[in-house]
Symmetry: C2
Subunit: 459 residues, 2 copies
Amino acid sequence: MKKIPHRIYLNEEQMPKQWYNLRADMKELPDPMLNPQTLKPATEEDLYPVFCKELAHQELDSQTRYVDIPEEIQEFYKMYRPSPLIRAYELEKALGTPAKIYYKFEGNNTSGSHKLNSAVAQVYYAKKQGLKSLTTETGAGQWGTALAEACAFFGMDLTVYMVKASYEQKPFRKSIIQTFDGKVIASPSDTTEAGRKILAENPNTGGSLGCAISEAVETAVNTPDCRYVLGSVLNQVLLHQSIIGEECKIAMEMIDEYPDIVIGCAGGGSNLGGLIGPYMRDKLTGKANPRIIAVEPASCPSLTRGKYAYDYCDTGRITPMARMYTLGCGFIPSPNHAGGLRYHGMSPILSKLYHDGYMEAVSVEQSKVFEAAVLFAKKETILPAPESAHAIRAAINEALKCKETGEAKTILFGLTGTGYFDMSAYTSYLEGRMTDYIPTDEDLQKGFAGLPKIPGIQE
Amino acid sequence: MKKIPHRIYLNEEQMPKQWYNLRADMKELPDPMLNPQTLKPATEEDLYPVFCKELAHQELDSQTRYVDIPEEIQEFYKMYRPSPLIRAYELEKALGTPAKIYYKFEGNNTSGSHKLNSAVAQVYYAKKQGLKSLTTETGAGQWGTALAEACAFFGMDLTVYMVKASYEQKPFRKSIIQTFDGKVIASPSDTTEAGRKILAENPNTGGSLGCAISEAVETAVNTPDCRYVLGSVLNQVLLHQSIIGEECKIAMEMIDEYPDIVIGCAGGGSNLGGLIGPYMRDKLTGKANPRIIAVEPASCPSLTRGKYAYDYCDTGRITPMARMYTLGCGFIPSPNHAGGLRYHGMSPILSKLYHDGYMEAVSVEQSKVFEAAVLFAKKETILPAPESAHAIRAAINEALKCKETGEAKTILFGLTGTGYFDMSAYTSYLEGRMTDYIPTDEDLQKGFAGLPKIPGIQE
C-alpha cells in the first residue's frame, strides 16, 4: 500500500468555492435569537445597528445550504490557504497506538489561528456596505490579530477591546494588533458605560469575553458608520469557518480516509463548528455516523456543566438573547485559566446539536492540556496554542483507548493555532506553577441565577 | 494564460532527496580553513573535537556535488516541508510594479525560520555517532529554537548560549527553547573561560554571536560526548540549507518561471547560501545569469564594508580561522540593532563567490527594513522576521526600479521567517523609537586592527 503523505494540500482549483450552512440540514433548528426589548425573535432589521446587512442576513438565514464565497474573499484565502491536513506519524509512534491520527492545521498564518477565515469575510462585507470602522473583543488575542490583518488589508479602522487578563499576560498580542493599525483597549475600560459599570462593581476584575463584547457593541452602536464583529459563537462565523471542514473532507477523500472520530476544542464553537461541517452533514443525512467530540476547559465548562437556556451574549446584557449552553453571562473563568476558550456560552447551532445528541462533549484540566501540548510539540515540531491543545489532549486520550483495544481508528482533530504568544503559560507549566481550577456547583449556581426571565419562555 | 497560483507546493515525491554542494561547481574554491595552532589547513581530524565526524567531513568535502539526504532526515523534513513558493500578488499591486515577485517562505514551522533544515541534520549525525549532548549559540533565537526542536525529537541534551541582548529583548525565545528541554544561558556568562574574560573586559556588553560561539565551543570540547553545532557560516550548513533552493527550482519550473533577480538576507549566509544554490549553479556552469543579491544590515556590513581576510569565527579566538568577509571577530553591532544578522563574518563560500564577482551585496538601514516589513505584513498577511525583512526591502527596491523602467522582471526572495518573537522591535519602530546606526570608518578600523597575523599568508 502506498504510504499516505505527511501533509496533504489541495491545489487552488480544488479549494471550496462555497461555505456550508449546517442549519440547512438540521432536523430541528436552534431556537431563534430574541430581541431583548420585544422578547420576540430578532429580525434582520433588529440586527442592523450591530451587524452590517449581509452578515445580519447570514446570521438568520437557516435555509441556504451553500453560500458562494465572494471572489475577493477567495483571493484572500489563497494567500494563506489551503491549510494542510497532516498525518501525525510521530505522535502515533510515541503513543504506540494503532490509531491513525490526522490534524487540520490552521495556525500557518500570522493570526496564528483559524480566526482569519471569518475575519476576512466580516471585514469584506462591512467594507462593501461602505462602513468606515469596526469594533470587536478579543480574549487570547487570535481573533483581534486576525481582524486587524483583515482590516489593514481592506482599509478599515478597528478598535479591539482585549480581555484585561490577556492584555496583561500577552503584551506582544497588543503589539501585533497595533502593527496592523488596530487600536487596543484593555477591557473593562472607562471608555464605555458597560465597562464603567463592571469596573465599579469589581475594580480588580481581569475581564471576560462577555464584558469585552458589551464594550465593543456599545461603541459600535454609538459610532457613525461603525459596526460590531465577533469571532465566534455566531451562526455567520460557523458559516465562514466551514471552509476548514470542506477543505478537510476533500483532502481526506484524496487519501481514501474517513474519520471515525472528529475532535475540536470549543470555546464559542468557531473552529469546531467549521471543522465538523461535512461530518455532521453526513450524520444529519444518515450517510455516516462518526463520533464528534467537543473539548472544553474544565474551568469554563459550558457544554458539560452549563444550562441549555436563553442568555445574553455579553456580560452587560445589551445584546440579543440566544438559546445555548451557558454558564450565565456573568461567569468569569478563574484568573489562572490560560489562553482562550473562556466564553460563558456556546454557539447556538452546536448547543442544539449537542442537546439533540449529535455530538459529545468532554472537559479537560489545563495541566493535562499542557502535558499533551508539550508532547505534541516535541514529536510533531509544532508548538500548539493552549486552545488547540485541548483537542490534542482528547485525541491522545482516544488514541490511547485504541491502544488498549487494538482498534485502528481514524482520528481527526482540529489544530487551530500556534502558541507563540502563550509562552508565559508554557513557562508556568514547565516551572510547575500551573494550577487547575474546576468551578464548584455553588460557583456555577451563581452564574445560573443570573439567567434572564422571559415570560412564557423561560421563567 | 492560466493564472499562476498564489502558493506552489511540491508533493512528497517531488521533494529533493539530495543536498547540493555549491563548492563542487565553483571555479575556484574558498581558501582552506586554518588550524589556529599549526596555521596549516585544518583536516577532518582537526575538527573532530568540535564537530561530529560526518559533519567534519561535510565541512571539508568540496568535491561531492550531490549528497544523499538520509532517510530519517527526509522523514523529518516531511513534517514541515515542502515550504511554499508564494507569488506576492498583493505586494505587487500595492507597489504598482510590473515586476513579478515570488518568495520562498521558510517560516511555517515552530522555529519560525529556515534554521530547522540544518538543525535536524546536525542533530541526526551527532546522534548517529552516539554523542549525548550538544552546545550552540543563538542570536535572534531562531537557531536555538530549531536546534531545541531537533534535539527534543532525537533525544539529545542541549545547552544554548544566547546573546545577552537577545536574551533580554526576547524572554519568550528562552521559554520556547526550554519547552523543548533546551538549557539557555545568557552570553557572555561566567560558565566559561571565554565568557569570564569578555565580561572582565566589558561587564555591560550585550554580547555577540562571536562571543556566544566561544562559550559554546569551549563547553563542547570540555564535556565528554559533547559537540558544538552552528546554525550558519559553515559549509555544512549551506549544504543542508540547499533544500530551500532545490525545492524552489522545482516549484518555479512547475510554473515556467526563472528569476531574473534572487535576493536573500545575509548574516552568516545560511539562508542565502541555501536559496541561491540552483541559480548560482547555473551561473557557474554558464547556463543562465541571474543577478544574485545579498542584503545585510547597515549596522553589521560584513560584505559591503568588511575585509576579505582570514579571521577567527569567534570572539574568544579559539576556533579555526576562515577566509571570509569580516568586520573583525571583536566586532559587536550597536545595541540598537534589532534581530539577527549580527555576525562579524560571512560564509566563506559566499565570501569567495562575492569576491569573484558572482554576487552583489547591498546594505539597508533598519528603519527602512521595518517600513518594508509593515507594508509586507499588511499586504501579504505574514508578519516577517526582521532578518527576512532585509530581503523584502531589497525586493521592494528592485520592484520599484522596474516600475520606473517598465520592465516586468521576475524577482525571487527568501522569506526566512516570522517575527512573532520580535514584537519589541516592531513596537519600537511603530512608536518612532527605532534609530539607525551605521558604523563609522573609524569604528570599523578597530575591528580590522584585531585581524590575526599569519606568517606568509596575512601579515
